[in-house]
């Protein structure tokens, strides 16, 4: 027997001793060891598929619970930013229009337009109607002025 064969023989004995014990009586096989005979998890294609599915599922879950909310929040924030800009722009537009309205609301402007463009004139001082405490309340004040302004005499 070659030395190598001897070493292998010794090794077998050691393994047998470990398995059967020194009395060579068979030891009951532990439950856990009985199930050890399955192939390595990463290697079995079915396991790989399972792992892949788990990984995909995990990824999907990560996307659903991690990335998507973050993305959603960013998207909402972007919308808020845009809305803030839109509101600011609208406010500026409103202020700009208000100024334009006020520019043409002054008495001087209205008077010049009325006289120069519409040909309106001021009534003579004697043609004015004055409102006093004794004045009669009328429903159509404009009509009342129209009817009475020229009937002073």
């Amino acid at each position: 027997m070659t030395p190598a064969a001897e070493r292998r023989t010794e090794y077998r004995y050691e393994k047998r001793n470990a398995y059967y014990g020194m009395d060579m009586a068979a030891k009951p096989k532990p439950e856990r060891e009985q199930r050890v005979s399955r192939p390595a998890a990463g290697v079995n294609p079915y396991v790989k598929i399972n792992l892949l599915i788990i990984l995909v599922l995990g990824g999907v879950m990560a996307v659903i619970f991690g990335i998507m909310p973050a993305n959603y929040e960013a998207s909402v924030q972007q919308e808020i930013n845009q809305t803030i800009k839109d509101i600011a722009a609208v406010n500026v537009e409103i202020e700009s229009l208000e100024i334009q309205v006020k520019n043409v609301s002054g008495i001087s402007y209205i008077e010049s337009r009325a006289i120069e463009e519409l040909g309106m004139i001021y009534p003579a001082p004697e043609q004015f109607v004055f409102i006093t405490n004794n004045s009669v309340r009328v429903n159509d004040f404009a009509q009342y002025i129209k009817e009475n302004a020229y009937e002073l005499w």
Partner: protein, 690 residues
């Protein structure tokens, strides 16, 4: 040693063959997996180390750098409060505008490699054109050795959008836009000398803008936020927002309508008299409230550095920078509050009031005017010399504006008493009007005035007062002798109109008794109804007043031919509600106060009394006179324009075709104003509508 059939599968490591597991392939696959794992693990280890290095060792550096890059501290400009008239109409408002900044180092177009080129002349010219600037000026700004240069402010949204679109289209970098708040005066030059203006930073520079700056200026807010490279807020970023506090609104005593009437009147007077300047003030004698204050020439506070008159603007452009500053200060100055003028005969009301109060005379006391009056060795002439007024009562003497009578009254009172009345009427002190830079009268010192000084002062020569001093003093007569502190501001309110602070009328002192005030008012009414101020009378209203013409002191001489014509008037005399002071500085042609300022006062009185709803009371005589001067308007409708015009001319009426230019054709008259049958004053105008 082999397992199974000993054949290698094509897939190598996937070695489940014939229901047996290929252990050889398994070992190789395991080896590869271990290798891959090791590589990945190494990568992760490196990454973790790097992350650890960044987050632990270099944490401080990167944290600071990140904070600097992401944190944006944005100033939120506060809106300056509005200035409102007494009816809450906005005369000065603030609105969002934009400032345009340029980063000289980055200003230009980038090429494909991202390298910026210096802005070409074409770009500078184009930007200057959009901003309404001089290209040279812009060029000098954008070539400065600074990180950031402000090139324009008060830029409108339209211009800002145009610049942004243009810059994006061409790919110009280095232009930045910043929010700003700018001041707007919707009615342009309206009440410009009252409102004042603001400087480039939005703070009050003159007028009420300066006086009430502390109320009008708000407190800018801040927005500290984490932003991305585009300035947008990033998700999960922290932000702090300190809200801006807008300024409060200032409510004036000014009435927009009355101010309009005054500005129209002084403009007409300036046109007729070709005066250097015309000033007008309307005050409520009961409260001291200034209802209107205006002058010509004025300026537009929207563009306060450019005179409205194109000729003046051209002249100003020829001045040196120092001279321009001087010009602007003069233009922005309000002479009605800050400067003095010679009141002339309008000051006689003060002398008469003092004399009546001291009981040294009565309204009916007879006097004699010989045309001159001797004061010591000096002979003082009456303005009527050599055609004297002769016999006259005190009332008539005021109507005649007789100088010798005034001298006699002053002499009866004596220097001390007279100066005491100047003090009482507020002539020797400031009125404390709520306006910056108030001036005060130039009165001859009592110690040196002597009898001659007393004499000349009594008829308004040798004394200079501010217009606001004179109108306040005369207003006391219309307020039962109580001198009121003049005011331009009624209240400070917040944006919802809640009163934050109210400025109530303040009685300074009782200057003269009610009886004296009443007597002087009767004299004033006599002046307008039967004497020198008749030109200012308005049918249906009781108006009192006094005119004045004063020679101007120029280079130490009164003999330059320059005069100041003025008139002060009050109405309605049964219950005075307005006092008007109109000053015509250096009128050309006829120079008397009655002929220069009188028509302006009449115009103001006519419009303002109607505006404040004072009903005219016509006597039968007045009515008859008015009716006799009217013509009944004929029916011109459906007539040819030429026929209608002929008919009107025959009736002593004028015509105007409307719309303008219609008279070129002989159109059919569609309508007319006034309507047929109405009464129109002779020489009145009938509008013929096409």
């Amino acid at each position: 040693m082999s397992y199974g059939n000993g054949k290698r599968t094509k897939r190598g490591a996937a070695a489940w063959i014939g229901g047996q597991f290929n252990k050889d392939a398994d070992v190789r696959t395991q080896g590869r997996l271990i290798f891959v794992f090791a590589v990945v693990a190494c990568c992760f280890a490196v990454l973790i180390c790097r992350i650890g290095w960044i987050s632990v060792v270099e944490n401080g550096t990167y944290a600071v750098e990140a904070a600097e890059r992401q944190t944006k501290d944005v100033m939120i400009p506060a809106h300056r409060g509005s200035i409102l008239d007494r009816n809450m109409k906005e005369l000065a408002i603030s609105a969002v505008s934009y400032r345009i900044w340029v980063r000289p180092a980055e200003f230009g177009v980038s090429n494909k490699n991202g390298v910026k080129s210096v802005a070409t002349e074409e770009i500078v010219v184009s930007l200057a054109d959009k901003l309404g600037m001089d290209a040279e000026e812009l060029r000098s700004l954008v070539t400065q050795d600074k990180q950031r240069v402000r090139v324009a402010r008060d830029v409108s949204k339209e211009v800002k959008d145009e610049i942004r679109a243009w810059a994006n289209e061409i790919g110009i970098g280095g232009i930045e836009v910043e929010d700003d708040v700018s001041r707007h005066y919707p009615y342009g030059a309206f009440a410009a000398h009252v409102l004042g203006s603001v400087n480039d930073d939005g703070y009050g520079r003159s007028g009420l803008e300066m006086k009430y700056d502390q109320y009008l200026t708000g407190i800018a807010g801040r927005w500290i936020k984490k932003t991305d490279r585009y300035g947008d807020i990033i998700a999960y970023g922290t932000e702090k927002h300190y809200e801006e506090k807008n300024g409060l609104n200032v409510v004036l005593t000014i009435d927009e309508a009355i101010q309009h009437y005054v500005e129209k009147a002084i403009s007409n007077v300036a046109e007729v008299t070709s005066a250097k300047r015309v000033m007008g003030i309307v005050m409520d004698p009961r409260t001291g409230e200034i209802l209107a204050m205006g002058m010509t020439p004025d300026y537009d506070p929207n563009d306060p550095r450019t005179p409205i008159d194109p000729l003046e603007a051209e002249y100003m452009s020829t001045l040196t920078p120092e001279q321009q500053v001087e010009y602007w200060n003069k233009m922005w100055r309000n002479p009605m509050v800050s400067d003095v003028y010679d009141p002339g005969s309008t000051f006689k009301l003060i002398t008469v009031s003092a004399a009546l109060e001291e009981r040294v005379t009565t309204p009916t006391e007879p006097f004699y005017c010989s045309g001159t009056y001797q004061v010591g060795k000096t002979t003082i002439r009456c303005w009527r010399y050599p055609d004297p007024h002769k016999d006259e009562t005190l009332t008539q003497a005021v109507g005649n504006s007789c100088n010798p009578v005034m001298i006699q009254l002053a002499q009866r009172m004596g220097l001390d008493t007279y100066y005491d009345y100047l003090e009482r009427f507020g002539i020797r002190s400031k009125t404390e009007i709520d306006y910056p830079g108030e001036g005060t009268a130039l009165v001859q010192p009592k110690d040196t005035a002597g009898q001659l000084g007393l004499a000349t002062t009594s008829f308004g020569q040798g004394i200079s007062v501010t217009p606001i001093q004179l109108i306040s003093a005369v207003s006391a007569l219309g307020n039962n002798g109580k001198l009121m502190q003049p005011r331009l501001v009624k209240a400070i309110v917040d944006k919802d109109g809640n009163v934050v602070e109210e400025f109530k009328p303040r009685v300074v002192r009782q200057v003269v008794s009610e009886q004296t005030a009443e007597e002087v008012m009767k004299i004033m009414e006599f002046v307008v109804s039967d004497s020198g101020g008749k030109i200012a009378s308005v049918p249906g209203y009781r108006i009192g007043g006094k005119t004045g013409t004063a020679e101007k002191l120029d280079n130490g001489s009164y003999k330059t031919g320059k005069v100041t014509g003025s008139m002060i008037a009050m109405a309605p005399m049964e219950d005075p509600q307005i006092v008007v002071l109109l000053i015509v500085d250096e009128p050309q042609g006829v120079k008397y106060g009655s002929t220069t300022a009188g028509p302006g006062v009449k115009e103001i009185m006519t419009n303002v009394l109607r505006h404040i709803n004072i009903t005219p009371v016509y006597t039968q005589e007045t009515l008859a006179k008015m009716q006799s001067s009217y013509v009944t308007v004929p029916d011109l409708r459906a007539m040819n324009f030429s026929d209608a015009a002929g008919l009107l001319m025959g009736s002593g009426l004028n015509y105007t075709a409307s719309p303008e230019g219609s008279e070129a054709e002989d159109f059919m008259v569609d309508d007319q104003y006034p309507k047929p049958g109405e009464l129109l004053p002779k020489d009145g105008t009938v509008f013929l509508y096409r």
